[in-house]
Subunit: 191 residues, 4 copies
């Protein structure tokens, strides 16, 4: 395997496990009726949101590596840095779900999302640094509007969560929807 | 890695973890005699059934991707959607096993199976959309009889579970057996 | 990826997770002195034994797939069947470790090993059936002495465990040592 | 897949799961305020340290396999031996974190790091034995200064932990920082 393939394989492994570990937070209840399921509803909603976020990161990561040509040590560590913040998502998801969207858990969840977004931004720079400013990747990324907007929205949502936790949650969902509209920049440039 | 390979690798990772996480629901008992194992029997039966189901999905996924040629954003998300429902299987399995096939858990298990079957149906459409209606894949799938029958049987089994939970369980097992007869359509068309 | 690669990737995923899930049975104790570690010793010994066993299966699987040429549905399901029994190893390991090598857990552990050995035997036949009796693989396997001896020793050890659990445990360790001497049949035939 | 690729894939799988399993030790607290997070701080610090260590091993493993040419049974088992010690890292991390850097857990953590470093040293010898003393890999490794220094520092830190656990912890961090400066020997020789 070339370096790029192994980076993909390792990242896929970590992302696959993060997604599946989150489902462990939905603990099997001891009763068998609807009442025992009801407290799991916020946990389930958080799981859906985090699943979508990990899916978004996997998709974007996938597209970026498709365009990238070179992988150096800087890229390897920038990638591990991204995986570090994403690995905290199961904890943040579980805490937010178990406390039914209380203030502090919503703040922490936002912080993890913000740090992951910043880590992704750093990873993009590391790839462009490795491939050079005239590379396919650099052109494909261009001005990363969605990435910048996400960071701005998180920075706005986190302090807001201290006062209006549900509105902050709505902002997190907004960012996810923003990304669900597929990122056609790289696809367009490459084809 | 091309897009198709990475889709396979990620899906394999998630499916491998789902299978292995289900085994965690079979909690190590504290005693050391047969009596401590007996309450684990329904959990074990559920584990076997779910293991077979994940195996079936892995096999079908494997065959479909072997025939598929193109992977676009629609396919990526349809695949994540399928993985989402399958990721709920460990929870549904554990709940059904711990409550010894009680009504509601059997209903929920059926719903997860139904949603996964629908998600698989959507994924097949997404692949055919990407490859075109005259592609090898489209011909290999043809009229997906087994897929359609599964959905019909689930839709029938779920309301039934409210009255006859064991009969519903028997229907889930029937669908699994239906699929265990290997899917020779794609193999035949390709060879 | 060709079928063979994907079979390898999926099996590697499941085996990697089985190995790592077993370590979860070594629960972090609440004290901080040697006394809190002592009850973990049998759990640790069981972990080492099971780690070695999974390592042996991974090595043999690796060598066999290196020699194999064709993968059909029969092979896919024989492989899933092997993974099923291996997936029960963490449970059997945890139960045997927590009960300090009590009778019944030692019997169950032996049964899981026996079923895995039989499943491996079936997988070898499935591969030979796919490749043909004159294939490189069929010649490389020849008479699978180690495989046959393992099954014989397990069959002998399991009833023994009811009377002499430690002697049965010693037999399991013997089989592991037998396999640790690397399987040079396939390597020799191929090179 | 050739033998090397499968070794990479399996190791990546195990390392990916080790990283993600460690995060499970950061248990979701039941309260929703800052007070409930505070006892998690040492657990979090341990997680960061262990994450960095696994990242270092993954990076070095990655570079070494990039230079290696041959994989034999000796290499396969040396690699499994390394993975065995790394698989104990989640346990050692959790124990050290939960006991707020108490003596014995810090000693045990150091022992696991030491054994992993020795296992890595053995793996390097196994690769050089497989490739021959004039191979690219043997030249690229040369005198493994960092590896040797790590082992010396661990040997020094472990007895120290009985008297000055925090100083021992600082030594573990020092070794990690030592490795974070990327290993340019292999990269330089290859390019």
């Amino acid at each position: 395997m070339c370096k790029k393939n192994r980076l993909e394989a390792f990242s896929d492994g970590v992302l696959a496990i993060i997604i599946t570990i989150m489902v462990l937070e939905i603990k099997v209840p001891h009763g068998e009726n609807f009442e025992t399921l009801r407290p799991l509803l916020p946990v389930f909603i958080c799981y859906v949101l985090s699943f979508v976020y990990v899916g978004i990161y996997w998709n974007n990561h996938h597209h970026m590596l498709h365009a990238a040509r070179k992988v150096d040590s800087r890229v390897l560590w920038a990638n591990l840095h991204l995986l570090f913040w994403l690995s905290l998502l199961p904890f943040a998801t579980g805490w937010m779900g178990e406390n039914h969207f209380a203030k502090l858990p919503v703040v922490l969840y936002g912080c993890v999302l913000l740090m992951a977004a910043i880590a992704y931004w750093i990873l993009v720079r590391a790839f462009i640094h490795a491939d050079g400013p005239d590379s396919v990747l650099a052109k494909a990324i261009g001005v990363d509007r969605k990435g910048n907007w996400s960071i701005i929205l998180y920075v706005f949502a986190i302090p807001l969560a201290f006062y209006q936790e549900l509105f902050a949650g709505a902002l997190y969902i907004t960012v996810a929807i923003l990304w669900l509209i597929p990122d056609q920049r790289i696809e367009r440039t490459l084809s």
